[in-house]
């Protein structure tokens, strides 16, 4: 290889190598896909939402503990599924969706409380928390 060509070749080699590095990178690794069973550490904002969710879940558990659970109420399995979804959304960083679904869950919990003739003020307390 002539001496005059060597710098040119090295330049092409460097450019090609850098071209590989300049391609679009893969997204970061996800998490929280089964957060209801495998919780992960949360940032403060997400932790606040998770606290609210835990409050609703406690009311749902209270409903289950009452005799009302023996009565047919399709809201109960739906609220359980929605709680799972919200847990994952919070852990996965989908906070706007989590807030929206928490409002839906609140309506469901109110329905359950009324069905079990339990006070609904606890639901409002969860919403404030």
């Amino acid at each position: 290889m002539p001496a005059s060509v060597r710098p040119a070749c090295l330049g092409v080699l460097a450019l090609l190598s850098l071209a590989g590095c300049s391609s679009e990178s893969w997204p970061s690794s996800g998490h929280g896909g089964i957060a209801e069973l495998r919780p992960i550490p949360l940032p403060p904002e997400a932790a606040a939402l998770n606290l609210k969710l835990s409050c609703y879940k406690a009311l749902i558990d209270r409903y289950k503990a009452s005799d009302a659970a023996v009565y047919a109420n399709a809201t109960l399995p739906r609220s359980d599924d929605l709680g799972i979804r919200i847990s994952r959304e919070i852990a996965g960083g989908l906070l706007p969706d989590a807030r929206y679904d928490l409002e839906t869950l609140k309506v469901m919990v109110v329905d359950l409380m009324e069905d079990a003739e339990l006070p609904t003020d606890k639901v409002d307390q969860c919403a404030v928390s």
Binding site: M1, P2, V5, A8, C9, V12, L13, L16, S17, A19, G20, S23, W26, P27, S28, S29, G30, H31, G32, G33, I34, A35, L37, R38, I40, A72, N73, A74, T75, L76, P77, R78, D81, L82, I84, R85, R88, E89, A91, G92, G93, L94, L95, P96, D97, Y100
Partner: protein, 676 residues
Amino acid sequence: MRRLLIGRPLATLFAMLFLVLAMVAASQAGAQQSGDGVPPLRTPPAGNGNVYQNPNQQTPRTPVAPGALQSSAEASTPDTQVRIGDVLFLSLPGEDTFNKTFQVDRRGNLLLPEVGLVHVAGLNIAEAQAKVHDLLTRSFRDVSRFEMSLKERRLLVTVLGFARNPGPVELSGDATVQMAINMAGGLAQGAQLDRMQVRRGKEVLTFDYKKYLDTGDSSLLPKLEPLDEIFVPASPLTGNVQVDFDPHTLAAAGDAGDDRTSVKVFGEVNSTGSFAYKPDASIVEYLMRAGGVTRYAGTDAIRVVTKGKPQTFNLKDYLDTGDKKLLPQIEAGTTIFVPDKQQPGDEAGGGSWLKNAPDKVVRIIGAIKSPGRYEWNDQVSILDLIAEAGGPTDRANTSHIEILPSSTGIGTDTKAQIFDLAALVEKGGRLDQLPKLKPGWTINVPALPENNPNDSRSSWLQQPAETSIYLLGALRNPGRYAFSKNMHFLDILSAADGPAATADLENVRITHRRGGNGKPTVTKLDLAAYFNSGDDRLLPDVQPGDVIYFPDKSADWLALGKEQTVRVLGAVARPGRYKFNDSMTLLDLLAEAGGPTADSYQEKIVVVNFARGQDQAETFNLVHFAKTGNFQELPVLRAGDTVYVPNATQSDWQQFIGGVRDTVSLLSIFALLGRI
């Protein structure tokens, strides 16, 4: 012997005395011996032959009638005529084969030893003895002491017809018809008693055996002679088909044996039938024999037709007064008809519906037990009318009774009304709010179609659309079904035999064609959730006219919205759209899609979340997950998201190696150019 008598008179005298005594003793011994030759006889109790016996009492059949010896005390004289069946005693001293009884057979012959058949029937005893004597002289040397006497009279007759054991029977000489029937086992069930026959050659003697049984008058029975045939006819009630019948049933249908003279009783009696005519019987007796009148009988106008002349008998008046003059005369062949009380629907005319004008009646038709025209007045409600018509039938659609005004302009309201009797019965209501009927109107009680509309299209078409509900799609029996407001969603679902196995229960659609503000609305029903929870609130209120659609699970994927599925793309065995719920994870989805392929880049499985705020993408390293088992690495996945499994060629290393390969190729080209 003659010389002895002549030579020694005294000795001869003693010898003869001794001989006579010996012969007498021998004769008695011979008589005893001959008695043993007679067939064995059964001796009945004393006087039994003269005592009435129940003809139905079955007695063991014996070859000789009871009482034969005792009752055959007819004196035997030379002029006595020998008859068939007679038992004759033939005496021939010194011959063992004689000195016993012989019976005249059915042909009138005696069967004698060494002689054979000798016809003696019709001869008197003397003639018969002479005839036999002549024949015996051909075979026997000394027959001078041959004698014949009548030992016993017997009857050989035949019982035929409705006897238990018909056939020839042998009786004592003075036996009666009753004894002959008894010998034949008695009468069989179904025998006609009042028209029995004795056939004697071509002569037929008919006698009333029933009357004999009633009165005991033996003169009513014909005297039997040899070879008579007693024929017991069958009652006409036994019919032309041989079947075992119940005598009680037979009796209930009457006892007449002659249709021409029998008294027919029918109508509102408990047992219609033809009954034997009795001259002294009144109409009351015939009604009693017919089981009496029923509760529905019109006893004030019983119709009696005697000799073609009809007349009316008021049983009620007779029972009130006891006046026998009110009783009609009953002759042979009389017909008695007991009408029922006024027929339902016949009120309008007292017998003829034509007598009432259409503007004075209300018609009720359709699925009603007694449809017809009913006289109308303002005091009668529609409930009274339906009740008077017997009520609706089992298949009546009582929730949609149609009240049709008269087309002749009678009444002011000409608009058809619908009366929901089912709702009134179930929920109650005020009677003053019942629809007001007017004379000339028509009430139609429609009938429900068959349960399965596919089996009866014709009746199914009769069902009005406004009372129908439509079930379509993946059902066992989709179609149009009758429906009322009182019914429930599950009622109509059950009527269609439920959803099919391939039905998508989570996506049932109900179209309310007359929804809010009269506009059609659609309700989505997750029937699977109902079956899981049993929450009735999930079930929609359906009304007549609504359409219920059950989609099939295998329906086109376009039917599913993007919010209901997760898209799986890239290097998986079965890329596509998959239904996903919140309890599932990415691993469930990959498994459903058949897993990543061998050339997939499993370290960078991408999940794209469709979010309300900002969409985001995350990766999942399946290989690392498999090595560590850390479930926390699973990314969030929800319905509406997208999963992409890249190919191995898209990995960073492969990208770098590709770049190096290209660079080396270019450098090689440059090197070649430099040498040139």
